[in-house]
């Protein structure tokens, strides 16, 4: 493959990936506000992870603790 066609491919790759990322970014913004409006999820409450961070505080969203960690206790 010669230099010109490599460059052309690169240019196409660049354009499409950039457009792809822009779409992702805007749909992310949309998602952030939409999910809050629908009451599905409140992003702002994640700030509490810093404010209530004692080890015995209730997690904002609890996660099942893997077995290995439980064993250590």
């Amino acid at each position: 493959m010669n230099m010109e066609s490599i460059r052309e491919l690169q240019a196409y790759g660049y354009i499409f990936f950039t457009i792809f990322l822009v779409i992702i970014l805007y749909s992310y913004i949309y998602h952030l506000y939409k999910s809050e409006k629908d009451g599905k999820r409140n992003y702002e409450k994640y700030s509490d992870m810093a404010l209530h961070d004692n080890i015995d505080d209730v997690p904002v969203e609890k996660r099942e603790i893997p077995l290995s960690a439980e064993k250590e206790k």
């Binding site: 994640y46 810093a50 961070d53 080890i55 997690p59 969203e61 960690a69 250590e72």
Partner: protein, 488 residues
């Protein structure tokens, strides 16, 4: 786990890194002050033979503050913040505990060896990547250990969603790993030829390519060491200290993605009017301007977090440190893009305005934020009240004065020299010899060095305050929820 049944956060690794931050901070900044005075008084070059010249000390200063002071600061805060926002104690896993310890000791060995090798003049010449290949391998190893520690702790977390600070720590880890590996690709000459010094190597890239890779690294080392982890710190410590939730959590994650995407493109602005392809230069220039958006997104978010709570500024010096840090972040992320405009860069490049800009960010933003973080952590790690509020106040004003002296003198020096280099007389001949443009800067060099000295003295006050807190601070019984307890 010991006999006690109560689960607690374990700060032993964070404490070790805190000591390292203070130690390397003093060393790195002291060397900085020395080389600053050397520029005004060249006789100061000869206090230790060939080892005391500006030549040997300059890489030591940059590497010392970046990889000594700041990196240990980042690690210290990680081993503190990481546990807390994931709500899991590192002591819950013996494996992670030992990884943390090995991480610290390996880090210490690598940094001490780096200091020795830079004194000896063993260098690859690439800025902020001067270390030769044996030490590069050490750096990679300790980076992998940090990675294990990050993802290991995340693996056993109780909090399902990752707090935004964790995002920034992950990005720091990934970004530096990628940049460091690619920029330090080198071929050890001894293994090919069988002679010469065993630690010598030659760069994998040549000339213009080498420059592109280096400044892709150099610029983004700034991004992923001086910016990303510091944002991680402020997103935890400012809300925590002030008891205010982040102004807009959504904005914080949007600026995260913005910063990640845009920062890496801007490296080309270090190479304007050089021999790299024009479109790379233009791209670097444009993206540098765009970079204002995500940077200010974070900074404004931080300042607005304090909305309606500005009274805290008066009562709590830590808030003052952090608010000034975000203000300097705004200043240097505006100054940087201005310097990246091609016509401004034609004047500013190669002059003292550039180190001036760097120090706006490092002294104001990075230094203040790191010190504030350590001040916040210490009462909680050692269960002691901070030793002296008054000392903190004097430190704050001393260092702020120092920074102002530093950047104002370097602005003037840089622009003066840039103008003199290009000045021509009525016949179109150069008006000034190179020496003319140096002599005129001497007063500014003195002023700058003195500003640096103020900052160093402030840092020594900080170290003293920390020392007194740890050794003789008043004990506290229960962990303070928000603002850090301190004696008058």
């Amino acid at each position: 786990m010991q006999a006690s049944n109560v689960l607690n956060y374990d700060y032993s690794v964070a404490k070790c890194f805190t000591y390292a931050t203070i130690l390397f901070g003093i060393v790195g900044m002291l060397i900085g002050v020395i080389i600053a005075y050397q520029m005004a008084y060249p006789e100061l070059n000869y206090f230790a033979g060939e080892y005391g010249t500006y030549s040997r000390l300059r890489p030591l200063h940059t590497s010392g503050v970046i990889f000594g002071f700041l990196l240990s600061g980042i690690f210290a805060t990680w081993y503190y913040v990481g546990q807390r926002v994931l709500k899991v104690s590192i002591a819950e896993s013996k494996f992670l505990m030992s990884v943390g310890r090995v991480h610290f000791w390996l880090y210490l060995v690598v940094i001490l060896m780096a200091v020795v090798s830079l004194f000896m003049g063993i260098s690859t010449s690439k800025e902020y990547a001067e270390l030769e290949w044996p030490l590069d391998i050490g750096v990679v190893l300790l980076w992998v250990l940090w990675g294990i520690s990050i993802f290991g702790l995340i693996g056993i977390r109780r909090e399902k969603t990752l707090y935004v600070s964790i995002w920034y720590y992950i990005a720091t880890f990934l970004g530096v790993a990628m940049l460091y590996l690619f920029n330090n690709m080198e071929v050890p000459t001894y293994f090919v030829s069988g002679m010469g010094k065993w630690y010598h190597s030659v760069s994998m890239y040549a000339g213009t390519n080498d420059a592109m890779v280096q400044w892709w690294y150099g610029h983004n080392a700034v991004a992923f060491v001086f910016t990303v982890p510091i944002v991680a710190m402020i997103y935890y410590f400012l809300p925590k200290e002030s008891a205010q939730p982040i102004f807009s959590y959504k904005l914080s994650i949007l600026s995260f993605w913005g910063l990640m995407f845009v920062y890496l493109w801007a490296g080309g602005h270090h190479l304007l009017y050089s021999t790299v392809p024009d479109w790379v230069q233009t791209m670097g220039s444009i993206f540098s301007i765009i970079l204002i958006l995500p940077s200010w997104g974070s900074a404004i978010n931080m300042l607005l977090t304090m909305k309606g709570e500005w009274g805290q500024l008066k009562e709590n010096p830590l808030i003052k440190f952090m608010v000034l840090a975000s203000t300097f972040y705004m200043l240097s992320t505006l100054e940087g893009p201005i310097q990246a405009i091609k016509s401004v860069n034609a004047l500013a490049h190669f002059t003292d305005w550039i180190p001036g800009h760097v120090h706006d960010g490092t002294l104001g933003w990075v230094g203040f934020m790191t010190m504030a973080a350590l001040y916040h952590m210490t009462p909680r790690m050692f269960k002691k009240e901070l030793f002296s509020k008054k000392l903190m106040e004097s430190q704050f004003w001393l260092q702020t004065t120092g920074i102002v002296m530093y950047f104002s003198s370097m602005w003037i020096a840089g622009i003066t020299q840039g103008m003199m280099w290009r000045a021509s007389d009525q016949y179109g001949n150069l008006e000034y010899s190179f020496m003319d443009t140096v002599s005129v800067l001497i007063p500014y060099y003195t002023l700058r060095a003195t500003g640096g000295l103020f900052y160093l003295i402030g840092f020594l006050l900080f170290a003293y305050n920390m020392y007194k807190t740890i050794t003789s601070g008043k004990a506290i019984l229960s962990e303070p929820q928000n603002s850090s307890p301190m004696q008058a």
